[in-house]
Symmetry: C2
Subunit: 490 residues, 2 copies
Amino acid sequence: MNILTISLEKKKGSPMYGQIYEYIRDEIQSGKILAGEKLPSSRTLASHLGVSRSTVDLAYEQLLAEGYMISQPCRGYFACEVDQLYQIPRVNSKYKESIPEKQKYRYDFSVSGIDRDGFPYQTWKKISKNVLAEDDGRLFQLGDSQGEESFRQEIASYLHHARGVNCKPEQIIVGAGNDYLLLLLHIILGMGWKIAMDNPTYLSAYQDFKKMGYEVFPLEPDEMGMNLQKLQKSGANLAYVMPSHQFPLGSVMPIQRRQQLLSWAAAEEDRFLIEDDYDSEFRYKGKPIPSLQGYDSRDKVIYLGTFSRSLAPAIRISYMVLPQRLLPLYWERGKNFSVTVSRVDQKIVEIFLRDGHFGRHLNRMRGIYRSKHDCLLTEMKKLRDICTVQGEHAGVHVLLKMKNGMSEEEAVRRAAKESVKVYGLSEYCVENVIEKESENEKKDMMKRLGATVLMGYATLTEDEIREAVTRLEKAWRVPACGEDNTAFFS
Amino acid sequence: MNILTISLEKKKGSPMYGQIYEYIRDEIQSGKILAGEKLPSSRTLASHLGVSRSTVDLAYEQLLAEGYMISQPCRGYFACEVDQLYQIPRVNSKYKESIPEKQKYRYDFSVSGIDRDGFPYQTWKKISKNVLAEDDGRLFQLGDSQGEESFRQEIASYLHHARGVNCKPEQIIVGAGNDYLLLLLHIILGMGWKIAMDNPTYLSAYQDFKKMGYEVFPLEPDEMGMNLQKLQKSGANLAYVMPSHQFPLGSVMPIQRRQQLLSWAAAEEDRFLIEDDYDSEFRYKGKPIPSLQGYDSRDKVIYLGTFSRSLAPAIRISYMVLPQRLLPLYWERGKNFSVTVSRVDQKIVEIFLRDGHFGRHLNRMRGIYRSKHDCLLTEMKKLRDICTVQGEHAGVHVLLKMKNGMSEEEAVRRAAKESVKVYGLSEYCVENVIEKESENEKKDMMKRLGATVLMGYATLTEDEIREAVTRLEKAWRVPACGEDNTAFFS
């Protein structure tokens, strides 16, 4: 038995028991105290080191708890065998992430951002402050996994009045973003679904579905939206649509196609529609078009909406409205997953809705976006011989169809040279073509779509829009034949 | 062609164009205007109704957009065929959720709550206010899908110092709760994994895995924790463990078993350990036991931690540390899923960590919980002939092993009569026994575990603990034979 002469330093930062613990642990780990070796009793060691017995007891308890030694009744303490392979390798946790060099553009017509100054900071801060000040602690207890009922009531009422959505609060599930809600839907619906989407589409949802392991059928839409014939032929039983404002094409689905889709879903028990109503708040002519869900009397539409678009992307609050018939499945499979939005944030948005701030905010944003939209369209008139504007009057982006023979890639590249970022429509097209269909389908489709670029105007100011369009004109108005034009004919 | 005499009400809330739109829409929907019927030109209708032409244009555009009519060049407007089946059924959205009647207990030894007064409201509110005041708008733009880098750096540094976890910020994924992170892990790892868990265990994780479609093997632990032999035999390739404080048993896994588990994981390419370090912050004797991840030199541990337990359940911030080797899979499959925690909350907790508030908060909470823990243990001495306390010194709950012949169910029921809620250990046992093993395994296991109840003390005050234990004594100290005792022998 070792007597263990440990040199304890009274001035050292670590407590006495910690020094004893560390010394013995290191001795055992390094093999200086051998496995099976008896250790002194705590009384003996305490007296030897001139410390209180409770100090040694504390060190021993830690060593016992971590398995460095064992205690055998009436026999004492013994060192355990410790595999040399596993020691804590203290690596330096200082770390610099290598951020990939992004090309910086002076003007980025991003299609996913929002107006930077549009967020109602002052109101948000005020409500936020009040919510925290008035809270009695309940907001920091775990809440309903679906989201708070009072919040869901406000959402139901908003959706009813603004979007014609008919639902009870029990059908609403609050979640931190659409990606999360699709994950939850994946758990609720399980595997084996075949999902139809438009092509081009909102790629993030497409990727989500693929990563969940679903078979996804990207279908080229016709002039009314999702192609019914292709849908039938695909064998899909779940169709993901954006009837109020298709992304990226910007088209609105007419009521006939909505009804056809609802009939398609109603024809089989296991068919559903996912309606992503992502930016329905922003429509500049007429009033917002009612949701597909509002027309659905067969309980077939899964409705998705978000505050990320209307408030701010960093506000991670979306909601999903389930058809009544899916509620039992949700209770069985999904209710277990705790809510992903903090109660503080839920309460803030609830008050935002309840007290009319949201309505006022939307009106203000519609004004801001309409003004930017009109500014962009006015400016684009200069380029009317170069390209045609499409998909206007809604959302926060437009499409430009090139008509000067320039390819999409060329248009994007030339704009980039002028430090203007525009987005090629083909970026939103899914590569995979439907099985059995020819490899040339995508090529054909791209030909039909023509050379088209997307321009989002939410993040730019009107001055920036004007300056950027001037640069675009410079980029795109080129001699019909020239050094730079080789790409046109390749 | 109808001339459409619409009685417009100037005082009505809805705008003029809306009344025209609604009138025509209703006429088409009800079949009063037939499909194919020509509608007046906007000029004609405007003049007929005595309104400006732009008002009618607006109504027409809405009708065109929604598909109620079509415009044929040089011919005019025509009503479309509208399937009668789908009209918006305006249901009353006022709704009262039927909340199931919960038995209200005066004293609830909940094992999942936290101390209500422990949350650092003042600091939280102050930081929250500053964060909002100082923000230049960036916090409301969408951030990194893994969580902000500066936040991940703080987490990495905290984990290194407090938990011995070795990781770079790039290995950390921030998510809104453990359920969400397990969902994301499900996407990263894909299907086909066989998961071993202790039985009894943290049921929420068990249910999450089952709902994701995994095969789960609940294994009865031995005195060191997860049973290695059973683990080998099960064929599992993913083991979910809580080495720092097993829930619900409260045991600490000794270093030998940790090393055996790490060796088990290292033996095959496709084996991993999930370490759920859910309440490692709370340990009342000695210092916190280093994480399993810290001992792992083979890059095999997926580490889960949360601020829900240490701060407040409603703070939906957890984090997952992926082994380096899983990062490419995360980038490929998981990076697409946007972050589920708002940047404001990330920033608040980042400052909380950075400025030492979190350390101070933990010390304070350890003091509060230790005091409650000691109070409970002192009070329980009165009942030492009735039950034995186990799993103390860590976390915020203890186990009571009944030794007066009372069954678990009886102990829970009798406590309930005194309005005290305690939790039967069998509630945390998984029903499913491993295939091929006898149906009696669970029964045998329950026999071995004995009549045991769980008591969480986080949510109760010390006065409440004292009063509740007095009631428990009344509930459980019963004549050896009596009217109430029939259950003992059934």
